[in-house]
Amino acid sequence: MDSVIKIIPLNAYIILSAVIFCIGIVGVLTRRNAIIIFMSVELMLNAVNLLLAAFSSYSGDANGQVFVFFIMAVAAAEVAVGLAIIVMMYRNTGSVDIDLLNKLKN
């Protein structure tokens, strides 16, 4: 199972996670549903996780994988709070459309 490091160049993983990260950014920019935007952020976090794990495995250094672990922990906490905020927003506006949240303008 260890041969992926020798066969696939590290650049392949860099490009793969760059592509996934950019898909996440496009999702944040083009969608209005707060939950989908949140999911796109998760996609971006996962791209970063993949890249960190790849760097860690290719250089034989365990620190990167520990960081991935911390990112996952923070993501779990973030999702709990974020979804609670979205539920509260739905309760107040009856929708999850972020364009309705423009009260801070003007």
Binding site: A18, I23, L43, Q65, F70, A80, V81, S95
Partner: protein
């Protein structure tokens, strides 16, 4: 092994695209689940067993269930999905594509340091990671638990309906 990589990479990119493209939020969640599955597959290819298991449990078993739960709870579907204007979508896709272009171009020009080919493939095992985690990162680990406590209390306070 390389076939496995290309298959998983293709699956990840395709399903990530579908997350952003499909209208129905429930379908988006299921595609995101496929993306996470393929990323778990990549971790297994690295022999990062612990990360694969945690990704499985935390992302697929907990986070995505929460998303699915909230979407079912709020009863969102394709018809209620708000849409941005075509112009904004177009601008979003172009700026995302430009970012990708810049990133890939800079990677092409970057100088690659030759990596040590005889790396230790056992670092992803739970024993080694536990050693690093509890020796070098003991304080961040404890702080993460405080973070969880704060998040838990915060989520309960935010979602509680009638607050006296």
């Amino acid at each position: 092994m390389d076939k496995m990589f290309y298959f998983l990479a293709f699956l990840a990119i395709l399903s990530a695209l579908m997350v952003v493209l499909v209208k129905n939020p429930i379908h988006s969640i299921l595609y995101l689940l496929v993306t996470f599955t393929s990323i778990t597959g990549h971790y297994i290819l690295f022999n990062a067993q612990f990360l694969a298991a945690v990704n499985f449990i935390v992302y697929m078993g907990a986070i995505m269930v929460l998303f699915l739960f909230v979407i079912m709870f709020l009863n969102l579907n394709g018809e209620t999905e708000p849409q941005k204007s075509t112009l904004v979508k177009f601008a979003g896709v172009i700026s995302g594509g430009l970012l990708l272009l810049v990133m890939v171009a800079s990677f092409k020009k970057a100088v690659t340091i030759p990596l040590n080919t005889e790396v230790d493939t056992q670092i992803g095992l739970i024993k080694n990671l536990g050693m690093v985690l509890f020796k070098d990162y003991a304080l961040p680990f404890e702080l993460a638990s405080v973070l969880f406590l704060v998040a838990m209390i915060g989520a309960v306070m935010l979602a509680k309906k009638d607050w006296k």
